[in-house]
Symmetry: D2
Subunit: 367 residues, 4 copies
């Protein structure tokens, strides 16, 4: 119910603003005895961290996470884990104009309208910095999943930037970590570099599509109606700043399919049920099938750009607004580790929910 919380049993509450002293995640409901330390979480935070190349904001933040509670002698205790990240490189003076006017396409106007009092420095809570806390919590979720199950992997990557799409025939997982875009297609990575350079020099920004795949998730996670696994994935991804759409499996393309095409046919393989295809994205009736769980989400272009856009001030004066400061030309890039983190949180949460209500799967194919 809490407006800044996510999850049912593994429950993450993020707090903090872009230019306050710190931000973080209060994580409740983590199973006990999960081996974890700050370095394990830092691994994931370092992927999201700004300032690593010219394609992300130049703000220099170590994004060093501190574990303030809930971990004792290298293991979780089952009590709340507080993950805090101090802000270091605030340049609040960059934000003078935003205090008095509203960036088109940004949350400035709606925050002001609703709350009146708004921490305009760096967007306050609407800043992409909020997602650092999610990545820390996602790191903890990954550690807990590993403690409970073998062989679950969660991997995100970009599949589209602007109108440039990857060529899936060139899909190479090893490539993802080698380029600044988290793209599994070396040729695309090379081309996109020039494309984004051009946009950046042109004082512009661009959107992107991220795909996140969870493999090795057992069948049976989820619930039929409102706590469907896909419902919670959709909510998880749509809750990330700048996300405007979420797809599971065939996604929007499911509208184009006929029933004959869409049926993921089933056969018995040596290790149990096998599917001939995965239009379902690993989820049927809100419950995992055991196939890869596949989700995509679209990130809109950064609204803070150097090109003047028509806007208004708090006094209703019409202006042309240029947003100075340090911003991501394609904020979708840094959304990759965030999407992975949210997927990890959802998977762990449903593992715990499933164990709570069901114990272990009740239906076995009785060959």
């Amino acid at each position: 119910m809490s407006m800044n919380s996510f999850g049912h049993l593994f429950r993450v509450t993020t707090w903090g603003e872009s230019h306050g002293p710190a931000l973080g995640a209060t994580v409740d409901g983590c199973p006990p005895n999960v081996p974890v330390d700050a370095a394990m979480l830092q691994h994931w935070l370092d992927k999201r961290k700004p300032g690593q190349n010219k394609y992300t904001t130049q703000r220099q933040e170590p994004d060093a996470v501190e574990i303030l509670s809930g971990v004792f002698e290298g293991k979780t205790t089952g009590t709340p884990v507080q993950l805090m990240i101090r802000n270091q490189d605030q340049r609040s003076k960059d934000y003078g104009e935003i205090a008095r006017s509203f960036r088109p396409g940004h949350a400035d106007y709606t925050y002001f309208t609703k709350y009146g009092n708004r921490d305009y420095r760096g967007g306050g809570r609407s800043s992409a910095r909020e997602t650092a806390a999610r990545v820390a919590a996602g790191g903890l979720a990954r550690a807990a999943i590993d403690a409970l199950l073998d062989g679950v992997t969660i991997k995100g990557y970009m599949v589209q930037m602007g109108d440039r799409k990857i060529d899936r025939s060139r899909f190479d997982p090893a490539e993802i970590e080698r380029n600044p875009f988290w793209v599994p297609d070396a040729q695309a990575a090379a081309e996109w570099a020039g494309y984004l350079d051009g946009l950046r020099k042109d004082h512009n920004s661009v959107g992107a599509i991220i795909e996140v795949v969870a493999s090795g998730v057992p069948a049976g996670l989820g619930a039929p109606v409102y706590a469907k696994l896909d419902t919670d994935i959709a909510a998880a991804m749509m809750s990330i700043n700048a996300v405007k759409a979420v797809e599971i499996g065939a996604g929007m393309g499911a509208a184009m399919l006929t029933g004959v095409e869409n049926a993921d046919e089933m056969r018995m393989g040596p290790d149990g049920v096998e599917f001939g295809s995965n239009h379902a994205g690993g989820i049927l009736g809100g419950i995992s099938t055991g196939q890869d769980i596949i989700c995509r989400f679209a990130v809109k272009p950064t609204s803070s750009i150097l090109t003047p856009r028509k806007s208004i001030t708090k006094e209703g004066r019409e202006i042309e607004l240029i947003t100075k400061g340090r911003h991501d030309p394609c904020v979708g890039i840094r959304a990759v580790p965030v999407g992975e983190a949210m997927m990890a949180c959802v998977i762990l949460d449903h593992l715990l929910l499933h164990r709570g209500q069901i114990g272990s799967n009740q239906g076995i194919i009785d060959v």
Copy 2:
């Protein structure tokens, strides 16, 4: 937290199976003194009701809603409203084979795996009948919105069936109620009739895209991070059976936009802020802007089809499965009133949440 509940303050819990004695919605948190009676809710249920034309299942159900509690002397009392719909036309014998085998693309396999015990008759809880309860609850939400605000309208319609899309230059709201597809384009309606007839005769089915627009929603509804208005809309729509994707505003297309294009520029009009475009779909930073709230979702094709598909039985035997029974060739059609109902529930819920935390908007453009 409840797995079959939706909403924070206006909280809907649906219950019931396709072939049990009844199904319904337990609605908690409705404001008191909302004028409502069964006929007002029936109006919306009649739109979703099966058997009205050859494009929907031939099951004959009056879907008559009874109000069992929470309404006294024609007004809500503020206590739980129980909305019950009795099932009438169950032909459970049609479902013998499904008891022992799994329809590809359907929840049969995952329900069986998770729960062991599965009400296979008509899909039990995974049946589209579950959505009748949502429509009843949505009718109550509409009545409550009308009691609290003037001028909010919520309208859904189909924009795509299979590979056929509407021509937005022919968009005519009046046309929506005139054709069996809820399509705002008379020419499309005519063409789609033949297209769907062909698919039906071919023992096939097809997917669709629904658009739902809420107009007149005031600025300020929603919250920044996990209870974002768009997060809750995404969850609401993805929770509907067979939905595989949800878009807000520009949706997946936001990936194609540049920041210059995406900025919905602002100007002062005679009645306050005006926007030059609405790529945001009426939501910025999770909070409504006062523009139309625009959402689209994709519905996959019905998986119960008469064309044989490869599957397995509970004993792991490989079979070719044909699904007899009465099914929708395009279940997306009946999803239109369901999408409207979910939008109504989300809007009302956020009206109440906003009033609870904020009272009324705190920031005023001070011209």
Copy 3:
């Protein structure tokens, strides 16, 4: 969050008014494959049912429960269980005066103030009839506990009526079912009969104290801070109409104890840890110890009495009010099965929560 729901994973939402067509409980989160039928639930409802002797209201209600969903072929499916009880013996004309005035000590005034629109017939939702739904849900909880664990028993009984207390040296569990007061002391039962007869003839009513004991509950259920097992028991009991206090173990008397007295000393017995006493009432730090869980709660006297009391009308006119109608001279009697039901719901809920977060107890005394 829902205002008429109780429980985290095993979640009960009650609905319905005293004089509406029906009332019931929507139960979400029940484990699948729990053997249950209406007769099993009716067993518990029959204990709470009115009109069974002269010490309870003479309203004649069969309180027959119908299972409308979530049970298939004699077992729960894991989806919502709707338990409905139709009202039969409404005499709404008895309530004319209450429609216009407020019974002192009753919810009439506060309901009217808050909601404006109030179902005054029989107290609407503030009627003790609401507790029938709890007893039905509690019956389901008992069935689920039995399916998950061996040897848990939950037993309630009266220990005080007015100023008459039981003599614990005469405590006889077998006596509880033999008298109309659920008193484990035959001599007290005989004496209380005359005492209550006198009060009834005197147009008066009286309060009571109920004790509920859960035996066989394993150690480890509960959580440290806000989802403490005792917190949830306190909330469960205080949520019952007319309850004004809740005690765990030594209860209010804990204030009188010294630390030396209060320490429940521990020793190793043949089957593990043994305690020398149970001032803790089976709960330490919010988590069960494995000892009996002991709770007591006080029920105030029925406020609907035939003795005139000063009150006011909706128009602010001062009156002397006599409450006609059929009422319990000691509503605490029928609170016994209700207290048991709430205890069952809490125990099951915490069993599921424990299994969800922890799996099974992580610390073993390593002899």
Copy 4:
């Protein structure tokens, strides 16, 4: 749902252990524009702070609260408020023996059993230090109540320590702040000093009863069944460490009353409804009446005492345990500001819930 959270709309999650680097409260849902700074919260923390006199633990902690988020330019922003208190005076070596054995009457055994991994230093999360975070959150709740309403006061005090009770004929509110026991009776304060000195020298401890009164709370707050105002107060108080019982109004004594006595008669006064008595403790049917809200709770004696008690080690060895370290001879003393804080959180939460569902009271006495 989160196990370390409290409240529906004003939602407090506490985190942190007695001997970790810090503890705190993550507060979500606070209304915006509430004037608040660290000094305002420190005022309340200073009342609970240890080491102020010989009747509380000698641990020296400044309990200095830092506001890390959610407050901007001296006002709340409506986003999460993180309140952090660093631990300073940890003497972890005092706790060597507790790491291997279980204090009778303490959470040591149950934490170990459930979680396996337990931060034994100072009791970890079961320490009374956890309540510092509640007091900080309660200070914020008070500030928000003051911003929304005039004239609400929340006052706690001790009414019993061991077998010594206050004499209500000597009740003097001004006395509460003048003595180390928060007792509104100067003569009792003097006598109790000697009594507690004796117990302390005798290596013993003792229980207490605290009363908390909220005055000026408007009628209409609360809800009928499970979110009753008294249910939430009971849960709030029972969630405090060492609390074993909660009473509202007449409390356990309600069992002794007849219906004639218990009826709080109503009359019209110059400012509206007046009541002749307040056995209800300001709550009828779960909803506030406008009278004083009166609650009492019992705190058991500190289980960490210097007198040897029989216990066992993790290896099942039987021992005589003496608890060294610094402990409160009557932890009930410091529970006074904690009870006030919890009451403040409940009142604010219900103010917001009421505004959310109802707006403002719907029923007016129409003279």
